[in-house]
């Protein structure tokens, strides 16, 4: 379903209400969902989809997904967290996600940025260069 302008504007407003000091607040999100449930607006499905996408995008900015092929230590995760927190000037939490397709190395995804240091990535770059 395609959202109209009013739905887009309302989703944006609800998203802004969900932030406390620029960070997504679970309490505010619960409040917004309660409001939507009580006063079902027009195009509620499209509205909630837009709202969900905005919240997911915002959350992804504060969450570094660390994909790894081999074992990864807790210390490495903490150091990635510290480095990313410093780089983006906001608190970033790191979560590990095993991915054997990487062969070796790490891939850190934060928002739409990807930091890649994997054998699979290097092989892909090599094959495209040849």
């Amino acid at each position: 379903m395609r959202a109209d302008k009013k739905t887009k504007a309302l989703a944006k407003q609800l998203f802004k209400l969900s932030l406390v000091n620029g960070v997504v607040s679970p309490e505010q999100v619960a409040g917004v969902l309660g409001y939507v449930e009580k006063n079902v607006p027009r195009h509620a499905l499209a509205l909630l989809q837009l709202y969900q996408r905005a919240i997911a995008t915002e959350l992804a900015k504060s969450n570094a997904v660390v994909e790894h092929a081999g074992p990864i230590g807790d210390g490495t995760l903490r150091s990635i967290e510290a480095a990313m927190t410093k780089k983006y000037s906001r608190p970033v939490a790191a979560t590990a996600k095993p991915n054997p397709k990487l062969l070796a190395g790490l891939r850190v995804r934060i928002g739409s940025d990807v930091y890649e240091s994997t054998v699979a990535g290097q092989l892909a770059a090599l094959s495209s260069a040849v």
């Binding site: 996408r53 930091y115 770059a125």
Partner: protein, 509 residues
């Protein structure tokens, strides 16, 4: 041994710790050659975007929560959720002499089966046009080889001259003739060893045309030996609208290389009506607001920024543009024609009625104009053709009145006779451009009344015979006209002697 392996391992560890940063996004939807993308927070306007499978896209719509991107290439392998990444580069095409004689697509990739193009330089497809200070006024001629144009609507190097008319009125033919004429001039000039000679290289951009037409154009250029001085950028009707939209800009980038490296180039955009249609299609799919005739609001800017790139640069070369516009039922006041008329430095209007009467090229003298070309006209053309436009206009006016009355005074009759001869003289077969010295000689003969005694129906044959006579027997005289570029007393005496001799031998069949 173990220490050596440890050293290698350390080196590997150093290398593998180098992280590469990428800005990525995912495909939300793909339809009609346009992809809507999530993410790509760092993407720039007009930046190249890398799709999986080697396809390239251009980011054209940067919205708050999505990026609209045209895909250049096969979209059938793309699907929702595929990862896309930015490249940090603007779309660029290969440029340089290596492209001469080649047929390339809108991305500069060869499509003629002659192997890869060995080009080391790349120019961005979108570039800001040269500014005011670096420009120089147009004062060097660019000969089309078409007598009606070179004598009455002259074109200068660096000028933008629109060729406009209905379908099938000979617009492309004029462009092809001009390209062939440049090749002929180049061959003569380069063979002469003259250090001051500046060849003109041509770029022919085919937008939304039938593939069979493009093949015909290539064959015509090849047969005339003009392909070696020409680059053909092809985005045919079978190409997706994104390629059709980009092709003129790619051609302009190729032309700019010649201009910025001190050479002269001619670019033909055939045609900008189809270009506007392709852009409208992209804009509508991107959900941009539409305006008159459903064209987007920036369709004027689309063509003005393209045509402003044609210029004559101070201390460098020039890029002359011949944009083509197809009108519907001769309506020059439609949206796209009026836009392009207002951007260009003049127009050559081709009329269907004239074409059907057998007057080819069907140039309408009244509606055609060249705003800057007269300062680029050489002296000899001014001397022999200065009054032609006025005489032809008078003839058209008198001819309209003469239809209603049979009693005409001698002066009017003479004007009508002369006008009819001028019209006949300007008839010229296609793919047969005339050199400027031959044109000048024919017009001189007209001015000196050598065609007056010949029946109107035989004037074309007489002009052809006069041309053959000059080229076969008076080569030195023609070379003199070409080199001096003016009618001196000596040249005029030579022409008179030649014309008297020719007239005595000419017998109309």
């Amino acid at each position: 041994m173990s220490t050596v392996i440890a050293q290698i391992e350390q080196q590997i560890a150093k290398l593998s710790s180098k992280a590469v940063k990428k800005n990525t996004g995912t495909i939300r939807s793909v339809a009609d050659g346009v992809a809507k993308l999530d993410g790509l927070s760092d993407v720039m306007y007009n930046e190249m975007v890398q799709f999986p499978g080697g396809a390239i896209g251009i980011a054209l719509n940067l919205e708050e929560d999505e990026v609209g991107c045209v895909v250049l290439g096969d979209v059938s392998s793309l699907k929702e959720g595929d990862e896309v990444q930015t490249t940090g580069k603007l779309l660029s095409v290969p440029v340089g002499r290596a492209l001469l004689g080649r047929v390339v697509d809108a991305l500069g990739r060869p499509v003629d089966g002659k192997g890869p193009i060995d080009s080391k330089e790349f120019y961005p497809v979108e570039k800001i046009a040269p500014g005011i200070m670096v420009r120089k006024s147009v004062n060097q001629p660019l000969f089309t080889g078409i007598m009606a144009i070179d004598s009455m609507i002259p074109i200068g190097r660096g000028q933008r001259e629109l060729i406009i008319g209905d379908r099938g009125t000979g617009k492309t033919t004029i462009c092809i003739d001009t390209i062939i004429n440049q090749a002929r001039i180049n061959k003569v000039g380069l063979a002469s060893g003259n250090k001051d000679f500046r060849p003109v290289y041509s770029i022919y951009v085919a937008v939304g045309q039938k593939q069979s037409n493009v093949v015909r154009t290539i064959s015509a250029l090849e047969a005339a030996g003009a392909l070696e001085y020409t680059v053909i950028v092809s985005a045919t009707a079978a190409d997706n609208p994104a390629n059709q939209y980009l092709a003129p800009f790619s051609g302009a980038a190729i032309g700019e290389w010649f201009m910025e490296n001190g050479m002269d180039a001619l670019i033909v955009y055939d045609d900008l009506s189809k270009h506007a249609v392709a852009y409208r299609q992209i804009s509508l799919i991107l959900k941009r607001p539409s305006g008159r005739e459903a064209y987007p609001g920036d369709v004027f800017y689309l063509h003005s920024r393209l045509l402003e790139r044609a210029a004559r640069l101070d201390g460098k070369g020039s890029l002359t543009a011949l944009p083509v516009i197809e009108t519907q039922a001769g309506d020059v006041s439609a949206y796209i024609p009026t836009n392009v008329i207002s951007i260009t430095d003049g127009q050559i209007f081709l009329e269907t009625d004239l074409f059907n009467q057998g007057i080819r090229p069907a140039v309408s003298v009244g509606l055609s104009v060249s705003r800057v070309g007269s300062s680029a006209q050489i002296k000899v053309t001014k001397q022999v053709g200065g009054k032609l436009k006025g005489e032809l206009a008078q003839f058209r006016e008198l001819a309209a009145f003469a239809q209603f009355g049979s009693d005409l005074d001698a002066k009017t009759k003479a004007q009508l006779e002369r006008g009819a001869r001028i019209v006949e003289l300007f008839k010229q077969p296609q793919l047969n451009p005339l050199s400027i010295e031959v044109q000048a000689s024919i017009l001189w003969a007209l001015q000196k009344n050598y065609f007056d005694a010949i029946e109107v129906k035989n004037v074309v044959a007489a002009a052809s015979a006069w041309k053959d006579y000059l080229t076969s027997r008076k080569d030195a005289l023609l070379a003199k006209i070409r080199n001096e570029a003016k009618l001196s007393d000596e040249i005029e005496a030579g022409l008179k002697a030649a014309a008297d001799e020719w007239k005595a031998t000419f017998v109309a069949k």
